[in-house]
């Protein structure tokens, strides 16, 4: 059960971080990231 909970938590945090980054890019706070 603890494993399932941490899996869900990892998914949730990954979604939160990605959407936050997407929002930052969308509103123009982050314009370019080099690769």
């Amino acid at each position: 059960m603890s494993i399932q909970r941490s899996r869900l938590s990892t998914d949730t945090w990954a979604i939160v971080l990605s959407l936050a980054l997407a929002l930052i890019v969308r509103i123009g706070l982050l314009k370019t990231v080099a690769w």
């Binding site: 941490s6 990892t10 990954a14 979604i15 971080l17 959407l19 997407a22």
Partner: protein, 386 residues
């Protein structure tokens, strides 16, 4: 079922616990930083070596093999983890590589429009079903031939046909397999995943496969998401992208497979009361097992699709080209941390501790699955021009 000596916990896919660390040990953000910094250093070292070799070759007019940073990052990680070892201070942070993998996949949604996902995802799903039916039947048969217990055989079959470690852990609870069977199956799947990193790109190049076809094959045949992503990226950036898409389709099926096994074991009266009671609400069961990050991937892809819409109102809701490029690059950086983590969590001693029989069953099964999926992908490529 006892086939091998007790194993250390290898489930490093699940933060916060790291190889050898106590899973119950709490991690703070500050405690994660050294390990995350190490992931960045190892990953960037891989990128630096790739760039250095390319620049050196061009400057001296030498034809040097173009080895992707992915391989360097994994090799540096394996080297560190298996020589000097991973000091305790880095372990919790290194175990976050699964988190970076998922964040990378979600952001990768920016590089797909929904039409591509529907087309390739549809083909992937059909191939997944065929490969899945074959692998379950074949692995179950192999397990019987090698006299492995039904739980271990089931875990190996699920691990090799659906999605590696995540599927094994999800199925473990449903069929009441013990920790030892679970650790053995995980070790076999991780060992085979490590081998596939080196064999798949070689086979792909030998067969002159297209990026689409190779990526689809890696996504369908390599078990763990991190290794499937790495195996794809080792071939090319585009192949990595398609490997992730195919693998995500496989991951999305995990709930159905676990549910199927749970029902089968409950009907046979082999499941415990706790496992059987989980089946009372099948929709909740499926939702619990569904990898939620797939929804994030689809959402970002939806915004990417809207951005390319001819309708100005819809296009204003989505991302423009420059923004998509930025998000794509952020995804690449997240994968760079993941690949470093794949190397750093690979403990060569542990991988081969699980005993010969489960490894042989896993290896024979994997080779057969890889061959069947290769034929399926080549067939699909021929008819649908992937």
């Amino acid at each position: 079922m006892s086939t091998a000596a007790p194993l250390p916990d290898l489930r490093t896919e699940y933060p916060p616990h790291a190889p050898g660390a106590d899973p119950k040990e709490p991690s703070t953000l500050l405690g994660l930083l050294p390990g995350i910094a190490l992931l960045a250093v190892v990953g960037y070292a891989g990128k630096f070596v790739e760039h250095f070799i390319n620049t050196y070759g061009k400057a001296h007019h030498l034809v040097l093999p173009n080895i992707e940073y992915v391989l360097w990052a994994i090799l540096f990680g394996v080297l560190i983890a298996n020589t000097i070892g991973l000091p305790r201070i880095f372990r919790a942070g290194v175990a976050t590589y699964e988190f970076w993998l998922k964040a990378g996949i979600i952001l990768l949604g920016a590089r797909f429009i929904l039409g591509d996902i529907l087309k390739l995802g549809g083909i992937s799903l059909i191939l997944v079903f065929i490969a899945f039916a074959f692998s379950l039947t074949f692995m179950t048969w192999l397990g019987r031939i090698f006299h492995l217990g039904p739980q271990l055989t089931t875990l190996l079959a699920v691990g090799s046909s659906v999605c590696g470690v995540s599927a094994i852990i999800a199925t473990q609870g449903a069929i009441d397999a013990d920790e030892e069977d679970s650790s053995t199956a995980i070790a076999a799947i991780l060992a085979l995943g490590a081998i596939s990193l080196f064999t798949f790109p070689l086979i792909g190049h030998l067969l002159h496969m297209s990026d689409h076809a190779y990526g689809l094959w890696a996504g369908l045949a390599v078990d763990n998401t991190a290794e499937a992503t790495a195996a794809g990226a080792l071939y090319s950036d585009a192949a990595g992208k398609f490997a992730v898409l195919a693998k995500t389709c496989r991951n999305a099926l995990i709930g159905f497979v676990v549910l199927g096994y749970a029902i089968q074991w409950a009907r046979k009266g082999l499941a415990s009361r706790t496992a059987t009671s989980q089946l009372d609400n099948k929709a909740t069961f499926l939702w619990k097992k569904f990898p939620k990050f797939v929804l994030g991937f689809l959402f970002i892809s939806l915004l990417a699709t809207l951005g390319s819409s001819p309708n100005p109102t819809l296009a204003a809701l989505g991302f423009n080209k420059a923004q998509l490029l930025t998000l794509g690059n952020l995804s690449r950086w997240a994968f760079l941390l993941t690949f470093a983590g794949v190397g750093l969590r690979t403990n060569l001693k542990d991988l081969f501790k699980q005993g010969a029989r489960p490894f042989i069953v896993g290896a024979v099964g994997e080779v057969a699955i890889a061959a069947i999926t290769l034929l399926l992908v080549l067939g699909a490529d021929h008819f649908y021009h992937l």
